[in-house]
Symmetry: C2
Subunit: 307 residues, 2 copies
């Protein structure tokens, strides 16, 4: 890693300052540049070079897997397929992330198709950070699709963060959840300028006592546009909760369309959405502490998004 | 009114035991059978016989208008257009309602297309009760469309109730709301057997300080199906609130799809939906007071719907 742009972006999207411990794969401009398996985590590249299969052994504990993607070649369109096979009872922390540096005038796009097979009783945390930068006029676009299948008693926690620099994103996360399994999806999103972000969550609660919480916290600044779609299907005795909290600033636009369906008498489903600007009294309170209005807004947004 | 079926249904849908005071129009089997205007309320039948224009004089206070519809002829399909012109500052209470008695084997259907022009500062309460009965195999179907236009500073409160006997209903209520005006829509719904009910609310909050609360309380028993769609568009500084509370019993099915959009930085929009069965501890509490489980459920449902 001698390209300073790449190094910087790797740090931003996945907190990597040097080669990480544990298994990892670093993909730069459409190619795997460094890869390492560990005793319990085997990373097998797909023959076509368009992704990998990641096998996590049953019973693995406290292991990290890093799979960052960086693109700094303007005009590139990278489509990858990553499949995660997580063994029974494994506990693992997977850090993905995609950063684009586009100094050119062409569209640079990364679309990751991720599929998770979460084994019985496994506990997985998956973090995905999206970031864009660069002074060119070329767009930075990220359209990930994440498909997750949770076996009985498993837990999958997905956290996605997109704070800066992605011009367009259309993110789909679909899941099916078996008995006693739990799927948690949390996104943090900030858009600005002419950016556009579409979030699509869809969860089938198939197993008895399955549960899910899908939540979005977002801030829409400038003329940016956000669309939030969230589908929950309660197909068994289950608990589902969808929530969307959005702050609008400037000429921001936010649309929230949840879609909750009870197909079973013991399905318990809740949706909440709140869209509004920052309350005036919150700003005034911080102004009395010596902050300018802009500083107060910045502080409130950071607190709201937890960044 | 010598037809006892008609008399009974008139009482159920609009609380009329004798000819009401104030202006009224009673429509039976597709024809207006009794009509009376009052000093401030003029009811003008449309030439084609398919509805009426109702003019309420500016400044009218404490006036009631009754416009019930009864159908007891199996196989009839009645489509009516009623237009309400409510003068500035008028305060009026309008009671509509439609009851179908179908002893035959043919579909009996009533579709009321209602349009309200609510003048500046007017305050209107509009109640619509839907009811079906009869031992035939013919369906009882009601597909009303209500379109409302609220001028500045006006208030319109719509309350719809459908507790029993309507096989299929697809109800659309659309509104646009000007500055400082307020639209309240409340529905109470109980479906049973193979019944199907679709609710479609759509409100544009166009004026500064316009507001709306749209709410649905419903119970789905048997194999019945309910669909709830609610669209709120915040196009100015405004406050919008959509809520859907549904109890499912037996093999009931409920789908709730709100759609809230902030097109303005000072639009404040909230949606809440909760779908679930009656809490077990509520039933147990009533059982300890000597009620059977069925009685306890009935009591809880009645309390929930406020009937």
């Amino acid at each position: 890693m001698k390209n300073t742009t790449v190094d910087k972006i790797l740090d931003i999207v996945s907190g990597i300052k040097e080669l990480p411990k544990g298994a990892f794969n670093i993909r730069v401009n459409g190619k795997s540049v460094k890869r390492s398996s560990s005793e319990n985590v085997e990373i097998i590249p797909r023959p076509a070079g368009d992704g990998m299969d990641i096998h996590i052994a049953p019973g693995t504990k406290n292991e990290m897997v890093h799979i960052p993607v960086v693109m700094d070649a303007s005009g590139m369109n990278d489509l990858v397929y990553n499949n995660f096979y997580i063994g029974e009872g494994a506990e693992v922390n997977i850090v993905a992330g995609c950063g684009i540096h586009n100094d050119g005038d062409h569209l640079t796009q990364h679309d990751g198709i991720h599929t998770f097979y979460v084994g019985k009783g496994a506990k997985v945390k998956y973090t995905e950070k999206h970031y864009g930068e660069g002074g060119g006029t070329g767009s930075k676009v990220l359209n990930p699709v994440t498909e997750v299948h949770l076996e009985a008693d498993s837990v999958l926690e997905i956290e996605t963060v997109q704070i800066e620099g992605v011009d367009k994103t259309d993110r789909t996360t679909r899941g099916d959840v078996k008995e006693n399994a739990k799927l948690l999806i949390k996104e943090k999103l900030l858009t600005n300028g002419e950016q556009e972000a579409i979030t699509r969550f869809s969860v089938d609660l198939d197993g008895e006592n399955s549960s899910t919480t899908v939540s979005s916290r977002s801030v829409a600044k400038g003329q940016s546009k956000q669309y939030f779609y969230s589908v929950l299907n309660g197909n068994n005795k289950c608990a589902g909760h969808s929530e969307c909290d959005a702050i609008i600033m400037d000429q921001g636009f936010v649309k929230a369309v949840p879609d909750v369906t009870a197909n079973h008498v013991e399905a318990s489903l809740i949706h909440e959405a709140a869209i509004g600007k920052i309350a005036g009294d919150q700003i005034i309170k911080l102004e009395t502490l010596g902050l300018t209005e802009a500083e107060a807004e910045e502080r409130i947004v950071a607190g709201f998004l937890g960044i």
